[in-house]
Subunit: 317 residues, 2 copies
């Protein structure tokens, strides 16, 4: 069980699945007639909002942390993140009994801050800019010797993220398409690796906020377009792809469907009402994309519900 290939291949995703099995939940796959009517397809919902820390991110973080040598692990891990990667890395580190140092922007929500601290991580707050976050994490790295774990530009993270799609395929043998949201591209790239190595004929489609549509632009132009000014309610999808994730995605993804915030909120609300599942806006992006995409009626579509961490005091309706 060595370090994954770069880029990762199916064997790495399978190895990751075994590696994280003692820690991660095998999340359920739900179906809902009401949602199917609204979407016009037969949807299988892979419930990563029911994963530990409430997001698929725990899979990749656990895979990366468990792959560290004992010597590296003893140094602890660090990252900058305002979102689910912070909580995922904090819990993955606690599972292994090592230190985690998280750099979070000072405007992070109290709920997220409390969650990360609740997992025993050391939190350093900084100004809410990418420059300040990178400078602060560099300072933390230098001071503590901790090993930085990038939220998506890392083959261990990509392979870990791909395990969700592997489980989805195991449970649903008849899928015509798989849809995920795209932010930095770790989930989508891992899904590509898992799905097409198993079943090349399955269509892979992504949903992206129209206010942060760098991936759609990148796929259209064939060149990696960075995200410079994201404006969307889907706060987990603000980042740019890396060359590594884009390289995988451009090979496998048929279409990136952009959806605006109204469509995202509408999809989130329908999922809440029809399935009684709390999903976050970033997860609703994939659902909105299915509603917006042109799938033939009755198409079997697997949707990865990426996470369920929302601020209940600031709902978008």
């Amino acid at each position: 069980m060595g370090t994954p290939s770069d880029p990762p291949v199916l064997a790495d995703v399978i190895a990751a699945a075994s590696r994280i099995a003692p820690f991660a939940h095998r999340t359920p796959v739900l179906r809902s007639r009401g949602l199917d009517e609204w979407l016009g397809v037969r949807a299988a919902l892979k419930c990563e909002h029911l994963q530990r820390v409430g997001a698929f991110k725990y899979r990749g973080a656990t895979n990366a942390v468990q792959l560290l040598s004992d010597a590296d692990a003893a140094r602890g891990v660090c990252a900058h993140s305002s979102g689910n990667h912070a909580a995922a890395l904090a819990l993955a580190a606690r599972d292994r009994g090592i230190a985690a140092h998280l750099v979070m922007p000072e405007n992070v929500s109290a709920v997220k801050l409390a969650a990360v601290r609740g997992y025993g991580a050391q939190v350093t707050l900084c100004a809410p800019t990418l420059v300040a976050r990178e400078a602060t994490v560099a300072e933390v790295r230098e001071r503590t010797g901790a090993i930085e774990i990038h939220p998506y530009d890392d083959p261990r993270i990509i392979a870990g993220a791909g395990t969700a799609a592997l489980e989805l395929l195991d449970e649903c043998g008849d899928l015509d398409a798989v849809v995920t949201p795209i932010g930095g591209g770790g989930l989508l790239a891992g899904t590509c690796v898992a799905v097409h190595a198993r079943t090349p004929g399955i269509r892979i489609v992504a949903g992206e906020p129209s206010g942060a549509d760098d991936a759609a632009q990148s796929l259209a132009t064939g060149t990696l377009v960075p995200q410079t000014d994201p404006r969307t309610i889907a706060d987990g999808l603000l980042t740019s792809m890396s060359a590594r994730t884009f390289g995988i995605i451009r090979e496998h993804v048929e279409q990136i469907v952009t959806v605006d915030d109204d469509e995202i909120v509408a999809a989130m609300r329908v999922v809440w009402q029809r399935t009684k599942q709390i999903i976050e806006p970033s997860a609703a992006v994939a659902v909105a994309a299915v509603r917006s995409a042109v799938f033939a009626p009755g198409t079997n579509v697997g949707i990865v519900l990426s996470g369920g961490n929302v601020d209940l005091d600031a709902l978008p309706w």
Copy 2:
């Protein structure tokens, strides 16, 4: 598969389980470490918010409707209800291909009204008083010849409601206690019949809003105390028990724990955050009761989450 005994016994609950199996979901049982920490017990959550129409009520309504003779069924069914019984009866009737006439108060929420009409039921609106509701349903009964199905004072409904506890016991062999909310007492009475016939040693506890605590008063005094002025956010628990449900409950229930609206809302919010499951205030009453009750740490408690129908535009926080 004849009419159940009155009061129903375990055989009736088992017969109901077979009868409703082609229609009802076998709902999952969820666990959550975060919720367990908050509750101080090991909780198994029976997810009736994931039942069809989003509430356990579908079980009893389906059992009652399927038990009708063809001649009676041809007359259609009717009831007055502002809540989940209306939707449950409407869908159960549609499943059998018969008419349903629902009398609903004119202040019913638009979402609930649309749900009932969406299942194809005829809706008659009336003034929001018990007198008006009973007079209107009498008029509907006379006009249409439809058979009235009471929401809880009916052995078919009680036996149907008990099937949820049966499934819970089948899945969790190690329960020390089972907790449900109590309103009219159909769910609790059905739970009593199923649980104690199977495993007499399991403690049966109910949660009740302190602003509608007629059942707690009834159990304390040994006399059926009617509910006259309920004031609670748990809008599914406003009604009085019947002699039939009280007769079962007084024999089996160890304790009725009353919880106030603040405790109900706190429990609802913790469930939403920790389990990502949308439950309604009436379901949260059972969770709040477990938090408030004195169970030894590590006690295995089955909690019936009775429903998940909430107005997302009027959340209590």
